[in-house]
Symmetry: D2
Subunit: 338 residues, 4 copies
């Protein structure tokens, strides 16, 4: 931690800062320059982080040196983590191909879609039973019935299933039916929910919040890891921006950025990131080329009748064509789709 | 609703769109221009909203005409709503002056702060017992004990109290101790939580999410209103932006913007919006001048020992000086502080 | 300057960094912590700024300590600067009230508007003769003829005039006709243009770029100051954001933020910042309350026939009413309108 | 164009809008719904665009139906344009591999770099002689001497050269020495400069502004095309965002987004987009997979001594390794590097 003092700091203020550091059992190093005095602090940076040193009179800025996450950090865990969802591996060279409709809408339609995405090469089935919707008047999901339909479709087509959980009170229920929890973008900093899924043993797909930095995303993963659940897969799904021709801005550089800092797998979701069916295939290809550990795509056999997010779903035949491209790209980057 | 068709749309596709509209019991008006055909649809726009018309082949874009919120809309409720928190009125010319520490840290310190802000003219006491923190290793709040301390300080100094609720499972507990729920920025789209506070009769302070548009904020208010709780006060507290010298970007124009569209009161929080003590007084003055129904300011008698957000807290004497300015400004804009 | 080394840095890499610092004639201080080694460098930070130290192997990050601007900095010039435009003072308690149409469209209409804004209390007349337009097919301004019309209207109504200059080749021409140059948001980093106006003796109104930080704005002012022209007035006019109901996001906190760091005056432009006539009065009031040194408002006597930006212009009677409010607010904050 | 009227619009206001439309020689279609009256206007949308209809009393919003660009639009030019720079083709399946240092710093160092990138497979050499720098105290480029060095290095290694032009007064000079103009992000809306390069016959590399939407980028291309120069190549280079661990946010979805709307080639610049050497290779691969018509990468043989942007330059051996990957990816997506 580096503490930069104001040009007009008094000696009394300097002494006061030094006392506060000493109280924490840390060692300060003072450097006096022509225009600023700075204090470097050596020792447990976490102790300092909790202290509002920048609130002290005479302090201009406080610059942290260490990253605030630990369990998620590659600094303490060099090798890529591999997360196992049913028989499917994610990370360490294994690509997750997650596909399915935005929402579970009925047994028959889900069965059709599951069959098609399985045939195309998807290895995990998705479908929402609890849907976070901007409007209270929109379809909110089928709830428990939706979970059962999803489970049954997954079993029939031999795919593990992932579905969103929005409320800590739903965690037990979802845990009984699904192979992987999804935490949606809107809940990335719903800390009670993170703790709750952290107390299960089940893999968690943690989506980046709409205005979360990469560091924020890793801090949210840290919440889950700190509860003892090591099975976390991150997901880049676009962030809010001024660009008005796409639903979100797909920050694909988050993939190599996360990989440099963390051992956790990270996949990409071009469906939510772009919100436009015409852009999904190109961006799914880009995601694999950028090193993502998988791709999450919405597929619907009749998007114009989808109860949620139809315009961003691929048709099954488009998905099959995309999967052909992704297999070739996976080969080029040295990855496999199990 | 206006449906714009692609330049290469086929007659069959046009017919298909018209059939879908007819199925919903709505009336289409087709206009054929030189370069585009457009279809205006008259009738209940909500029916169409639920339909993914833009997923139909041949459709270029779908433009909604009506706003998606109703209960929050000024179109259906012309007069300003007044929300009552204990004896304090918010809206319709009455200003809420909410002040207190970021977190409840102990009975004694809170008592000191409460006494000072009351003397300065604050009319509602704030203090967090459940704290949403980016890091799992930061202080997470005193929980139920904090609620009791807050209640007791409010009673002693005759101020209603507001405190954050983060988890639907905490709603009953917080309801027993506080006069107003606060929904924090991170939970603005925690829809289960919104529904839960919507089922109480207690006022709700709903803070704008870090990447929420004004429309999103009003849609979240709609969730609470739709459950039957009409006592909603909105709060502008800054949004995420590229500017790196302030914690957030204070979108103060949201105040008159909301007032044009909605009858709900809206207050401003310059503490979280700027994250900098030196900027709070100027922005609190600006908020009152812009027409806000109140100002939410963090005050701490020893910011450098605050367990949370010390750097953005005013000292009690700074708050007292600010309140002097705000009283004069309130007069200029024709408002009163009860 | 603080140089943070990677956890796996080698001794050879550390030595290499130290050599580079020594080559620049600066003194390094090395602190070895448990998890990181850091090097503090004392001396002329500008020398280091020019060096790509973060490109050296083994360096994790480089943290500057000092601000990169000097002439614009309050650190070296404590008192508020006062800029004089004709007889009008800006800064140091003097408010500029700049008003007029977006574009000069003709002598008669400008004369009408000038008369009305003068009567309402405006002290500087604005009007564009060269217009930066997103589309090549939009009205691009009247050019030299527009400058003459503006000059003449200013003279007739005894107001100095400000107008935009977009191209270094126009600087001489605009210099002959106007009392103040305006550099528009799109040209805030048109460095050749900044240098060119910096070589005149005429005041410059420098508008913040649509994605410029406050630091970027001050660095652009530094370009002008470094050429010898000290007469710079900054202008906050909104930045790009995800909010889609206003043209830009009005970052009003830039006003006290700049005032803390710089001695230069800063005014606010709620017309461009919001792009909505209904929001301008509230935000103009907020600007004065926040401490701005003036307000820039577009006024047009027939906005629906304006050749540019009609929807964001106030009617003369609305402007007169606003000026009444601003005079009362100026009094509260201890400022005068000359 | 669709004009939506306010719920409280009067008949007189409706008539006034209809008169204005009739004055323009256009045909209005009025549809009266339960909650809003809307007017569809058929005919030349450009006429309406110039009219500030939204400034008329009673008008709630004006929704354009057609895109505001024409010459850049795929609607009027179905096939991909191919731009020729020296012997190198860009677009229509041909990939531009542009490489070189940020700035020209001297003949010897540029020769070394040119030789290495040529050997690795680059087909166009870049290097800045005029540098837009945030600070007036940073290295501003070698000017004309730099242009000569660049020309000579290009000739020696048989590569066409591209270099930035910042000022309309430099266009002739740069035209004499370079094979392609670069318009940098800061000048994307320097309209006088766009017109000036539009009047030459030389290819232009137009970089997206830091806060420009995809539509803004295409409108700026329209400025060049409208002057008669059809040789425009677009470049995605990242936009400003809240993410603070990368220099910009790389909006790679702009590549397929532009390709859907425009026939112009678009390349990607992962160096400026990320500002981090460690992220460049992954994002360059992603760009080719997303369908970009080329990749622009900064390469320097000694980044730590680069006078500009060293930290975002690849070493020559890193570039060679990247080019191996890009060749394999080009094959997968059916493109060739000439």
């Amino acid at each position: 931690m580096i503490i930069v003092l104001r040009p007009d700091v008094t000696e009394r203020q300097v002494d006061h800062v030094l006392e506060r550091i000493a109280e924490l059992g840390l060692r300060p190093h003072v450097s006096r320059g022509e225009r600023r005095t700075i204090i470097g602090v050596i020792g447990d940076e976490d102790k300092l982080r909790a202290e509002p040193l920048s609130a002290i009179e005479g302090v201009e800025q406080v610059l942290p040196i260490l990253k605030p996450f630990k369990l998620a950090s590659r600094e303490f865990h060099k090798e890529d983590s591999i997360v196992q969802v049913g028989k499917v591996k994610i990370g360490g060279g294994h690509l997750a191909m997650i596909a399915g409709p935005c929402a579970v809408e009925g047994a028959e339609i889900l069965d059709t879609i599951a069959k098609e995405v399985k045939a195309a090469g998807a290895n995990i089935l998705r479908g929402g039973a609890f849907k976070p919707r901007t409007s209270p008047y929109s379809f909110q999901g089928m709830g428990e019935e939706g979970l059962k339909i999803l489970r049954s479709a997954g079993d029939r087509h031999d795919m593990p299933v992932v579905t969103e959980v929005m409320d800590p009170r739903q965690v037990d229920l979802v845990n009984r039916h699904a192979d992987m929890f999804q935490i949606g973008a809107r809940n990335m900093q719903n800390f009670d929910l993170l703790r709750e899924v952290g107390q299960t043993k089940k893999p968690v797909l943690l989506k980046r919040g709409m205005s979360a930095t990469v560091k924020d995303l890793l801090m949210s993963a840290e919440y889950i890891l700190a509860e003892g659940n090591k099975q976390v897969v991150l997901c880049e799904r676009g962030v809010r921006s001024f660009e008005d021709s796409t639903r979100n801005m797909f920050d694909l550089s988050a993939v190599p950025n996360v990989k440099g800092q963390s051992h956790l797998p990270i996949i990409a979701d071009p469906s939510h990131a772009t919100g436009r069916r015409d852009l999904i295939p190109a961006m799914a290809r880009a995601a694999v080329a950028a090193g993502a550990d998988g791709v999450h795509v919405e597929v619907h056999s009749c998007p114009e009748k989808a109860l949620s997010d139809g315009p961003q779903a691929l048709l099954p035949k488009q998905y099959a064509s995309l999967m052909n491209d992704l297999r070739r790209l996976a080969e080029v980057v040295g990855k496999t789709i199990s």
